[in-house]
């Protein structure tokens, strides 16, 4: 039974963020008081400033920054919006409230900061992430979409009204939604030895029914397609704080392969953020080579699948190992398979045969 060293990591994080917000606020306050037009320096998120860092194995932003000045009339509105968001984030975190992208957009309307649409407010949220170098979850803006987790893991809530309350994530057979309270909870202890992330909710349920958590001493995570950032944060914490290996199981196609890659090394969209990646995570299937090997029923790749394949082959992260090899095989066979394809050999075939095989293989990857 793994126990986590007692350290209030997330609380520390919160206080640093609050300091940062206060520091920015004070700076702008002083500027205004002196009659100066305040400005923000924001790391540039333009394509030319996104580079791949081999050392930390993810995309990061280069050294370019953009200045947003309140003196420039064309930037004044977005400056005000960013200022408002910092103000709003400060309220959220200090009052321990949660919000979503959509909620932020609608909340803004009470302050007359004139977002034209949600896309504009979403963009300002990313700006603040870049300024603070923290994901939006850190200032309590969570995704709408919920993925789930199940397995023997005891957590302790930190959200108001639940502080100190503990829950074991195997207590409810539907699993637990990875929402704000779970994301901010302390990870207390677990008997699990591995984390299995699966792409699909259907398979997640099947795994629970087949007691994969018990059979393989696993925590099962449903990524619900491309893993939301809170899910990626949880995966990282399970790996970093509980030293659990993470394996990823996706559909046997190019999109599945990329879902695994984003968990492992992030996306270009989040190049301004660290702490969202699990560089040691392992993609165990379904590989293109598995299609042949397990004689899986397939469907032909579409033109967009093929184009995506070619695009990824140019990505620096796909230049070696299975990442490159599997893409090439996909391109060769031009067919793809779903995780459900294993049901051809019986509903439990995937858990009885394929999964043990792959978990074993993962150890050597």
């Amino acid at each position: 039974m793994k126990k986590k060293p007692k350290k209030k990591v997330s609380v520390d994080k919160q206080s640093t963020l609050a300091d940062l917000l206060r520091k920015h606020g004070a700076q702008i306050y002083d500027d205004l008081d002196k009659g100066n037009f305040p400005k923000f320096s924001i790391p540039s998120r333009s394509v030319s400033n996104i580079v791949y860092d081999k050392k930390i194995r993810q995309y990061i932003l280069g050294a370019n920054t953009a200045v947003r000045s309140s003196r420039n009339s064309s930037q004044l509105r977005s400056f005000t919006q960013l200022m408002w968001l910092a103000f709003f984030a400060n309220r959220l975190t200090s009052q321990k409230k949660s919000s979503t992208l959509r909620d932020v957009y609608y909340s803004s309307q009470a302050f007359e900061v004139d977002f034209e649409d949600q896309a504009e407010s979403d963009n300002i949220i990313v700006d603040l992430e870049a300024v603070l170098a923290s994901p939006r979850e850190s200032f309590h803006v969570f995704p709408e979409e919920r993925s789930s987790v199940f397995g023997d893991l005891t957590i302790e809530y930190t959200v108001p009204g639940y502080q100190g309350k503990k829950t074991n994530l195997s207590d409810h057979p539907d699993g637990y939604a990875i929402g704000p309270s779970l994301t901010t909870a302390e990870l207390i202890e677990t008997s699990a030895e591995v984390v299995i992330a699966v792409e699909k909710g259907g398979l997640f349920t099947r795994f629970i029914e087949e007691q994969v958590d018990k059979k393989f001493k696993a925590i099962i995570v449903d990524t619900g397609g491309q893993a939301p950032r809170s899910t990626r944060t949880l995966l990282k914490r399970l790996h970093d704080e509980l030293s659990l290996p993470v394996v990823i199981l996706t559909d046997g196609d190019v999109y599945g392969e990329h879902i695994a890659m984003v968990i492992k090394s992030g996306s270009a969209n989040a190049a301004h953020l660290r702490g969202l990646t699990v560089p040691d995570a392992k993609w165990v299937g379904v590989w293109a080579t598995d299609i042949e090997k397990y004689k899986l029923p397939t469907i032909p790749m579409t033109e967009s699948d093929i184009k995506r394949c070619h695009d990824l082959l140019k990505d620096p992260r796909y230049q070696e190992g299975i990442w490159k090899k599997e893409l090439e095989v996909f391109l060769k066979i031009k067919r793809k398979a779903e995780l459900e394809a294993f049901s051809k050999y019986g509903l439990t075939n995937i858990t009885d045969k394929y999964l043990p095989h792959k978990l074993e293989l993962a150890k050597s990857l």
Binding site: L32, P38, Q75, L76, F79
Partner: protein
């Protein structure tokens, strides 16, 4: 040349009566509008010619207001012009084709035909007389009531009386079938636009509903009046040449009583009746002292072999130099008589030189503008005519050849624009200022240019904003100070305006923009008989483009200044809106109680922008 065949002749009145559609009298709506135009233009032209600032009053009254349209109206137009001399009145308004405006210079109407047509139309539709009141001296006024005898093209005076008045001027009143409910807006537009292009005139219109539209004069100076000039060779056609030849070369004096009196005087035979041979003797003695018309008459007499008594009973019909025949009409016998002319006779040579006319070069330099003796010689060479070719002897083919050559010879100087009467920049500007009260106004008058031998001048004005309420570009088109109200779709001015990329001049969307375009020419190239749209001659299009270009550049610089001012206000509003918000947010973020002192940042001017 003249033929003996007879055709059924109709009088000009009869012709117009049968073809009234052509003159714009096709239906009650159109006719009422056309009559208004003709009367007002007549009045304005009359005042222009005498340098009088026009004060024109028009009224239209229904004879029976209760009746539905179309119905009878009384149209009256009164002006403060020179009036028409009493004895001329019946002819001026009682016959078609009697006018004072023959001649080459710019005028609104060409021959004064239109007003007579309106009178004719009124008479046809209501059978009521025209009432003319005219005073030339401002003391005595002649009042006529008359009808037109259409078949005879003669006035029928019903009533004539005189009375004392205080002002000179002319007043016309007719009763005619019209449809004001349909023509009303057209007529009001016409009055409005005419006032715009005639800022030195006061025009008042009392409409049938009792509403008064009054536009008082904005300027007190009149544009200089145009001079009558000779035609330019490029603008000539065969028919015009033929007419010019007729009045130069066949200057065969009418042998009427006046002429005979003159001949007797010059011969010293005022009271004596001599025989034919005695007269000719006297002629030979006195030849050198005789004037040219008398010499011609004497030459004719030498072949006719008549005395004065007999001569007074004839009229010369034709002098055929080629066939050496002289034809006259004998009233006594009621028949044509031909006599042979002896080519060896002294008198024959005298006659021939008159009839054959002057030489080509002398004809060209005397009868056309911009042609001197040198140019005339060059032209003769170009046209392959002998310079001394007598124009009176030209055949039809030669006339056609001459006309073609005149039109295509490139070395004639550009037409003389002194026959044009543009309004002038200042009156146009003042007129537009009064009518539109815009924020921006610019006018331009281009230099004279020419197409096909007809000189023209473009004047244009552009007005933006202010009290202009229309959205989108509104174009007022004028030709020779007449508004062109209809058929604007195919007009060259519209084409030029529509071809302009207005965004280049910082004019966007539906701008409150007015363009006034005035084309002055001795001949406006109208596209259609309706005379409402100007054809796109390249020379005219080019001048319009250049005029519009110079104005839109000025507009552009106005717009950018205005744009800067607007942007400054907009910026100021932006700062006033957002800086307080920033202050509010950062106060809470920084954990302060009191907001920073940002007020001076908003009120201070100007904010220098920082572009990054």
């Amino acid at each position: 040349m003249s033929s003996k065949e007879t055709f059924t002749q109709i009088s000009p009145s009869e012709f117009f009566y049968r073809n009234r559609d052509l003159a714009g009298f096709s239906n009650p709506t159109r006719s009422l509008y056309t009559a208004v135009r003709e009367f007002i233009e007549n009045s304005l032209d009359a005042c222009d010619q005498k340098g009088i600032l026009p004060d024109v009053h028009m009224s239209i009254k229904a004879v029976d207001a209760e009746k539905p349209d179309p119905k009878q109206y009384i149209l009256s137009v009164r002006d403060n012009g020179p009036g028409i001399e009493s004895k001329q009145v019946p002819l001026a308004f009682g016959t078609v084709l009697y006018g004072s405006k023959f001649g080459l210079k710019q005028a609104r109407g060409m021959f004064g035909l239109g007003a007579t047509m309106a009178i004719l139309y009124g008479q046809i539709t209501t059978n009521k007389p025209l009432i003319v009141k005219s005073s030339t001296d401002g003391k005595i006024q002649d009042e006529y009531e008359m009808l037109l005898d259409i078949q005879k093209n003669k006035p029928v005076i019903l009533k004539h009386e005189t009375k004392e008045v205080a002002k000179a001027g002319l007043s016309l009143s007719i009763r005619l079938e019209g449809d004001y409910s349909k023509a009303g807006s057209k007529i009001r537009d016409y009055v409005y636009q005419t006032s715009l292009i005639t800022p030195y005139a006061t025009i008042t219109f009392d409409d049938p509903k009792g509403d008064r539209y009054r536009y008082t004069k904005v300027v007190r100076t009149m544009p200089p009046s145009p001079t009558i000039i000779r035609p330019h060779p490029h603008g000539i056609d065969v028919e015009t040449i033929r007419r010019m030849l007729l009045d130069t070369h066949y200057q065969i004096p009418a042998v009427d009583d006046n002429m005979i009196l003159k001949v007797r005087k010059e011969l010293g035979l005022a009271n004596k009746n001599l025989s034919y041979s005695e007269i000719m003797d006297k002629t030979q003695k006195k030849w050198k002292a005789l004037t040219r018309p008398v010499r011609t008459v004497m030459a004719l007499m030498s072949f006719l072999k008549m005395d004065f008594e007999k001569l007074s009973k004839t009229t010369i019909e034709e002098i055929d130099i080629g066939n050496k025949k002289l034809t006259y009409w004998d009233f006594g016998e009621s028949q044509s008589v031909s006599v042979d002319m002896d080519p060896e006779s002294f008198y024959y040579k005298q006659l021939a030189s008159t009839v054959q006319g002057e030489t080509l070069t002398s004809f060209l330099s005397k009868r056309f503008q911009r042609v001197g003796p040198t140019t005339a010689l060059k032209f003769a060479e170009f046209a392959k005519f002998k310079p001394e070719h007598r124009i009176g002897t030209m055949t039809n083919q030669e006339l056609v050849k001459l006309t073609d050559a005149l039109q295509s010879f490139d070395d004639f100087m550009a037409p003389d624009p002194s026959c044009l009467a543009p309004l002038g920049e200042s009156p146009l500007e003042k007129g537009m200022q009064r009518f539109f009260e815009p924020d921006f106004l610019a006018v331009v008058q281009r230099g004279a240019s020419a197409y096909s031998g007809f000189p023209f001048i473009i004047e244009m004005g552009i007005a933006y904003g202010g009290k202009i309420s229309s959205r989108g570009i509104k174009v007022y088109r004028f030709a020779n100070r007449i508004p062109l109200l209809y058929d604007e779709g195919s007009d060259v001015v519209l084409k030029v305006v529509n071809d302009t990329d207005w965004s280049r001049y910082k004019v966007k969307g539906e701008p409150p923009l007015v363009i006034v375009s005035h084309i002055c020419s001795t001949r406006i190239p109208y596209k259609t008989v309706g005379k409402e749209n100007v054809a796109d001659r390249p020379e005219i299009e080019r001048e319009l483009k250049l005029a519009l270009l110079s104005l839109s550049r000025k507009l552009s610089s106005f717009m950018s200044k205005r744009g800067q001012a607007e942007a400054a206000i907009k910026r100021k509003n932006l700062y006033s809106k957002y800086i307080p918000l920033i202050a509010q947010f950062c106060t809470e973020l920084a954990g302060k109680k009191k907001e920073p002192n940002y007020k001076k940042m908003i009120t201070e001017e100007p904010i220098v922008e920082e572009k990054t």
